[in-house]
Subunit: 389 residues, 2 copies
């Protein structure tokens, strides 16, 4: 018995293009799993980098139908793209990069919530707070050890001491964990305490101020980390946030590549650029129409694998720009013909596995998904009678 599932999703007849399938019901199921683990915290959804490469609009719609009312993206452009969608008109959108100088009115008009990363960001935003019918809400990001983005505890204290802060339309304060995927790291507790200390001054002025610290991994560090708002990203897309403690997440991305050609190769022959793979026996080598230009990282050459007819088919030789070669010698010849689909990602090969085989991780696999594939979003939710205006 093969350990690999032969239950393929419903795939179209091959037209020679790889088929990329994004399962939106899986996104929803994963979001619910996080929400049910978040100790009652409001559960946002992180859809930056075009929804981790899965198409931000489709993912955001699915999250909204599941009950999510708060989204995070990196840049203002990403926020504006979400705002163009009528189905997402009433969802809150936060911008991690904050608001660039000169972009304030556009933020306000599009109801984008800037995450202020410095005292200067905060000061520059003040004129817009109550200038217009709606308050221009904002968030604060306090850096507690990433040294990447966010203000210092001193800056947060200066804001707490600012008389104007009393009337500020602040939505929440946040920090970001550097080592949440390593639960035993002492940095987690250090950051948690530093955030609590820095936020305490803000809470003196705004006692009900919601706090947010946890990414996907942070949720599973416990209630002390979930606080009021959690911001899952990778888990929504089926990536394990803590590899040592796998969750029952559903695979969101499935990638199937049809065989373009099969080469019958004798023993001792080499495959691909630089001849980095030498056949040990008489072999059949199948060529697939995808490569590093499609997001199969070049580092996966001679490391990754696909699944065909319930068997592992190793990637042999270097990954080319547009082509990948897999050894199908162990698959019956009738199952390894031009047009036969090889699973590259799916029920049997997770993004984490392909990421690890590429010397990277699942996140980089997701954000590299190429645009030459035949893209399909399946299980699109019904937005309901009030949506789609």
């Amino acid at each position: 018995m093969s350990p690999f599932s032969r239950d393929l999703i419903d795939l179209p007849a091959s037209d020679g293009r790889p088929v990329l399938t994004i399962d939106l019901a899986a996104v929803q199921a994963n979001w619910r799993l996080v929400r049910n683990s978040a100790h009652g915290a409001r559960t946002a959804g992180v859809v930056k980098a075009d929804g981790y490469g899965c198409d931000a609009i489709h993912v955001a719609r699915a999250l909204k139908v599941a009950g999510c009312d708060l989204l995070f993206v990196a840049s203002a452009d990403e926020g504006r793209a979400l705002r163009q969608d009528p189905q997402l008109d009433d969802i809150a959108v936060c911008i991690f990069y904050g608001c660039m100088k000169g972009d304030e009115l556009d933020f306000k008009n599009n109801r984008l919530i800037p995450v202020h990363n410095s005292l200067d960001d905060y000061e520059r935003w003040k004129p817009f707070w109550f200038d217009g019918p709606d308050p221009a809400g904002f968030a604060l990001h306090i850096d507690t050890g990433m040294n990447r983005l966010g203000m210092s505890a001193d800056d947060a204290a200066a804001i707490a001491a600012d008389p104007d802060f009393r009337s500020a339309p602040i939505v929440f304060a946040m920090s970001h964990l550097a080592s949440a995927n390593t639960p035993q790291s002492p940095q987690n507790d250090e950051q948690r305490r530093a955030f609590a200390a820095a936020a305490s001054g803000l809470k003196t002025v705004h006692p009900g101020l919601p706090l947010s610290l946890a990414n996907s991994a942070g949720v599973f560090l416990g209630a002390d980390y979930c606080l009021d708002i959690v911001r899952p990203g990778i888990a929504l897309y089926g990536g394990q946030p803590i590899s040592a403690k796998p969750l029952p997440l559903e695979p969101v991305v499935q990638l199937h590549a049809p065989i373009l050609q099969v080469h019958h190769v004798g023993p001792g022959e080499t495959v691909g650029y630089g001849g980095t793979h030498t056949t040990a026996r008489k072999s059949r080598i199948a060529t697939l129409p995808l490569g590093y230009a499609d997001g199969i990282l070049r580092a996966a050459g001679n490391q990754g694998f696909g699944i065909l007819s319930g068997a592992k088919v190793p990637m042999v030789g270097r990954i080319s720009m547009d082509l990948t070669t897999v050894d199908v010698t162990d698959v019956p010849e009738s199952d390894a013909q031009p047009g036969s689909y090889v699973e590259i990602l799916g029920k049997n090969v997770t993004i984490d596995q392909l990421g690890a085989a590429s010397g990277s991780f699942g996140y980089e696999i997701l954000t590299g998904l190429g645009n030459r594939y035949r893209w399909r979003h399946i299980n699109q939710p019904d937005p309901g009678p009030s949506a789609g205006r």
Copy 2:
């Protein structure tokens, strides 16, 4: 004196987005350099993978104005996209993947030239040769050691023996070198001889049949490799085909990222996820709004560098999805402010250097260039009075 150029290209005032500049005059200059080295061979241009990530339409137009009349792409979809452009109406377009079953009429209607990779491809194409006003020209790809794509020498012999072949509208025959970037590899000469032998049968029937073997690197192996048609790719985009023998290529891609925020960090502090960089001294760490979702490979963390005010600024800590941190301690504080542009690729940092720092090569840097950048194509050629109909 700094070894790095401070001559920045004309950059727009920062709006917080990285600026990606594609210099089309550099593409043209590089194409001319290859052509002038090709011993009189017809010099094509390879624009697959969206013009190696630089936008196939822009690149193809520039090549055409420079004198190129033959393009190569991987897939039929890529060929159809070129055909949509009126300026490219009269340029020949070849499809490396060949023609999938059922796509024959569309190929013919779009005047796409399939590269047949098997005897079956060839047989399937026959009914279309002279069925219509124009002959449906095709090419043949003979595999000589890649074991990736292309027909065997036996298949080529069978075609040469086919009585129908005498009237076939064959455009050229090709093979592909596996080790051209290593001039001393014996595989080069082996492939050259194998190709000549396999093609000789075809040439008995079609004495004038043009032959094509060389990619960018192959051109610089000498006249024996240039044959009738050369197919440069990477050199057009400024990547060195043979790193041991650098050519005076012009940089095509320039990437400048504005500083989002600067952190003042004490000695012994860590930066980024997992705390993989520890500061050795009091440091200033600048955060840039780009990451692996934008094509800065995660493997460049703690390995790559940028240039700011004539100084190297090393990438420190892990590359995040949307953020990269560089150490700007050695740059005067007034030059390292929010909005200051850091060169990530350009006159001082080649795609080959960033590729090597990422454990990869320039090709993968090119094809990963992200779409969140502010894209600019500069030095767009004038298509001339007869174009743009």
